[in-house]
């Protein structure tokens, strides 16, 4: 593929047109926070954390879904973007019930890290404190909707990698919820293979294995990509 040139934060970078802005930034260690993106899964542009400014486009674009083009001039870290990333982070925390001190993911949570990254010292919006269910019906795993941020990584990994499509989304607006099958308890699922991929894909403490306590969760989101690479080798792609 032909080499093209993009300019990111005033640095000229040679690359190819099949990549997204996020790919190029990650390759060149340009820091862009993400939440709904997970390497190996399709990109949906939902969390809006990876928004960037592109010269000539009047709208902010999500870096994970926008392909680079020759002579594209991109800014990833302007004051406006920084401000908006912080608001997004605050809204994540205000939306559901994130009590880090009692969370299994404490210290290993992508949302918590995001809070540090965008220097969120406090949340300026009222907490919504919605009533959310904790589904413990599965013999090995727990789904705690209080800590879910609707990134839909579990939905995509289950459908795209495991091929089971146990997870999906129901309702609209701030009433959206992740559901198992047609909104039945996870333990009664007829599609779940109990493979545990969703648990590793989940960025927070929303999906976790039973029999661990606060702060003990070990997640390996990178195994999703490893798995896909291994399969490709196996299938001789």
């Amino acid at each position: 593929m032909n080499t093209i040139h993009v300019n990111i934060n005033n640095i000229e970078i040679p690359t190819t047109a099949d990549k997204t802005i996020l790919d190029v930034c990650r390759e060149h260690k340009i820091d862009i926070p993400t939440m709904c993106h997970l390497k190996g899964l399709s990109d949906v542009g939902a969390c809006r954390l990876c928004i960037v400014e592109i010269e000539g486009m009047n709208k902010l674009q999500s870096a994970c879904t926008t392909k680079v083009a020759d002579h594209m001039i991109i800014q990833t870290n302007t004051d406006r973007i920084k401000k908006y990333r912080r608001i997004t982070t605050e809204l994540f925390f205000a939306e559901r019930n994130h009590v880090c001190s009692v969370c299994v993911a404490n210290g290993k949570c992508e949302l918590q890290n995001l809070g540090y990254q965008v220097e969120m010292d406090h949340v300026r919006y009222p907490f919504l404190f919605p009533q959310c269910e904790v589904d413990t019906s599965h013999p090995w795993y727990v789904m705690d909707h209080n800590r879910c941020i609707m990134c839909t990584r579990c939905v995509r990994v289950c459908q795209e990698v495991e091929g089971a499509h146990n997870w999906d989304v129901m309702n609209r607006g701030h009433a959206v919820r992740i559901i198992s099958d047609f909104n039945t308890p996870w333990g009664e699922s007829t599609t779940c293979t109990s493979c545990g991929k969703c648990l590793h894909a989940c960025p927070t403490g929303a999906i976790w294995p039973k029999a661990i306590v606060q702060g003990q969760l070990e997640k390996k989101p990178e195994i999703i990509e490893e798995l896909i690479e291994k399969r490709k080798m196996h299938d001789g792609f």
């Binding site: 949906v44 542009g45 939902a46 969390c47 809006r48 928004i51 709208k59 902010l60 674009q61 999500s62 879904t65 926008t66 406006r80 401000k83 908006y84 608001i87 997004t88 809204l91 994540f92 205000a94 939306e95 406090h122 300026r124 919006y125 009222p126 919504l128 941020i149 609707m150 999906d168 989304v169 309702n171 609209r172 607006g173 701030h174 009433a175 959206v176």
Partner: protein, 558 residues
């Protein structure tokens, strides 16, 4: 049926029409508004009355689409003499038949607008409500039976498709549409010709055309009225579009809340297939095209093109980031043309009369006409179509007959939940895309709500925010959580509990949601708030008590 047979059949139809002995064609409005006030029953009553009196040879009773002045329905129109009677019912219908039709005397106190005008017009076309209008998309609405292809054919129906297929190449049709400067009527106003050309240029043996009839904004009933009143002209427009861009399959996505529109459109499909105007080798040409109806489940977001496409594919109706645009990768990943109902309704007249003709109507940047659903505190509310650039004042005070109960005009809300409010200082604003945008509102799809001095602008902003909050698909954070936060803050201000800090946060959130949301729903959700803040800021400020600031802030930062 090949072209020649088609022409022969049309000629026979016209001949038959000429030999008819009917002298009085009486239209009864069977638009959704009039039906809900009982017009179907009136239609039946009139039909049986005509039968009983043995008048069938002379009088024809015709159910029609929307006639326009909806808040004066049920309406009866003498289609040959151009007289409209208002508020018809099962009792006075017999006296109208007796007096107007048989005795040929005008019933002055039942004429349209007779209760509010000193001299109501016997010929409705002379009334200011109609005089200022220019009906192109609505040309057949309220004039013909929407369920009869014969009636449509007698109004030059399918002449445009015939012309397109045999006298024009696809490039030439696209050229005409570009020349007409028609812009999409679904809200964003994207040039239709350019969109068609983009789809045309993508090489693919599978392309789709979609007609967007989801119309989810509160207060809007333009697309509904067109689909109910003249489904064939939309269908013909879609077929021409398919020929121009090279598609052989189409979908009409109509919202489930419009059962009548769905019924009439499906009946149109059936009749068109029978006449060989849909299906294989249309009119004997090498062009194949067929269309299916898809029924929407009533989510506002499914009107957004990428969500609508997902919905047709059987998926959850949530938007996708663009690019890629549907023109490149739409339904099933194929090049897809998606246009609004009203956009398609304008195609037939453009093909028949030429792009030049259409481009001369309207303003320099917004050509043609726009249909509005005029509602709220005006005397004459209903469905209107005016040239682009008609001033708001003309619409409210001439067409709309001024404000109800002599109240004073306060604001006009355009564009529904994605639009804004125009205050009295800008009553002379020209209704076109650019002028409305410059005032912080948008043309949108054509909802137009007139408000008087009693309207509370903060509450208006709260109402539309609540709508967006409920209708947000929930995919992206700014819209999902941001609209909820903005709604709660507005609610707080509405009950006089707001603080200056709240107002500050509201403004910050509004800009944030506008600039970061994934799709147009979120990006435009703050518009009613921002525009009322711009034009009616004092209404917010008078509700805010600075004394509350310190107390509340302590509570919140904990």
């Amino acid at each position: 049926m090949n072209r020649l047979d088609f022409h022969t059949k049309i000629a026979a139809l016209q001949q038959l029409d000429k030999t008819k002995t009917v002298q009085h064609r009486i239209g009864i409005c069977c638009g959704a508004g009039c039906i809900s006030s009982g017009s179907e029953e009136i239609l039946k009553k009139l039909e049986s009355e005509v039968q009983q009196r043995g008048l069938s040879e002379k009088v024809e009773v015709i159910p029609t689409g929307c006639m326009g002045p909806c808040n004066h329905g049920p309406l009866l129109k003498h289609l040959d003499q151009h007289t409209i009677y208002q508020k018809v019912n099962c009792t006075n219908i017999t006296s109208i038949l007796q007096q107007h039709v048989i005795e040929q005397t005008l019933i002055e106190d039942q004429l349209l607008f007779s209760d509010s005008r000193t001299n109501a017009h016997a010929d409705y076309r002379a009334d200011p409500f109609f005089k200022k209008q220019c009906k192109i998309a609505l040309r057949n609405c309220g004039k013909i039976n929407p369920e009869s292809i014969e009636a449509y054919l007698l109004q030059d129906g399918y002449k445009a498709l015939d012309k397109a297929l045999f006298e024009y190449t696809p490039e030439e049709i696209i050229g005409e549409i570009k020349h007409s400067r028609l812009r999409g009527r679904g809200g964003a106003g994207y040039p239709t010709g350019i969109k068609w050309e983009t789809v045309y240029k993508y090489v693919n043996n599978e392309k789709y055309v979609i007609c967007n009839g989801d119309e989810g904004d509160p207060g809007a009933f333009m697309d509904r009225s067109i689909l109910e009143g003249d489904p064939f002209s939309v269908l013909e427009g879609i077929t021409i579009a398919a020929y121009a861009v090279g598609a052989s399959k189409g979908y009409a996505y109509i919202r489930g809340e419009y059962p009548l529109a769905i019924k009439r459109f499906e009946s149109a499909l059936k009749q068109a297939r029978k006449w060989g105007l849909l299906g294989n080798q249309i009119l004997g040409s090498s062009f194949h095209f067929d269309l299916e109806v898809r029924i929407g489940a009533g989510a506002f977001v499914c009107g957004e093109e990428t969500a609508l496409i997902a919905s047709i594919e059987g998926k959850r109706g949530t938007p996708k980031p663009r690019p890629p645009f549907p023109a490149q990768s739409g339904l099933w990943g194929k090049p897809t043309l998606i246009n609004n109902v009203e956009t398609f309704a304008a195609i037939v007249p453009i093909v028949l009369k030429g792009g030049e003709w259409y481009s001369e109507i309207g303003t320099a940047k917004s050509a043609g006409t726009k249909v509005f659903a005029l509602a709220g505190k005006v005397n004459y509310a209903g469905l209107i179509e005016v040239p682009m650039g008609t001033s708001l004042r003309e619409i409210v005070f001439e067409i709309g007959g001024g404000m109800q109960n002599q109240a004073s005009f306060k604001a006009a809300q355009t564009g529904g939940p994605s639009g804004g409010c125009i205050p009295i200082e800008f009553l002379d604003v020209k209704m076109d895309y650019e002028s409305l945008l410059s005032l912080g509102s948008i043309m949108g799809s054509g909802g137009l709500i007139i408000m008087d001095e009693h309207s509370d602008m903060v509450d208006v902003a709260r109402f539309f925010m609540e709508f967006c909050m409920d209708e947000s698909c929930g995919k992206c954070v700014p819209c999902r959580v941001g609209t909820k936060m903005m709604h709660d803050l507005l609610q707080k201000i509405c009950i006089n509990k707001g603080t200056n800090k709240d107002l500050e946060r509201l403004e910050e959130l509004a800009l944030y949601v506008k600039e970061t949301s994934l799709c147009g729903l979120g990006a435009s959700a703050p518009n009613p708030l921002l525009s009322t803040l711009r034009h009616f800021r004092s209404e917010y400020e008078t509700r805010i008590h600075p004394s509350q600031d310190t107390v509340q802030d302590k509570n919140q930062s904990g």
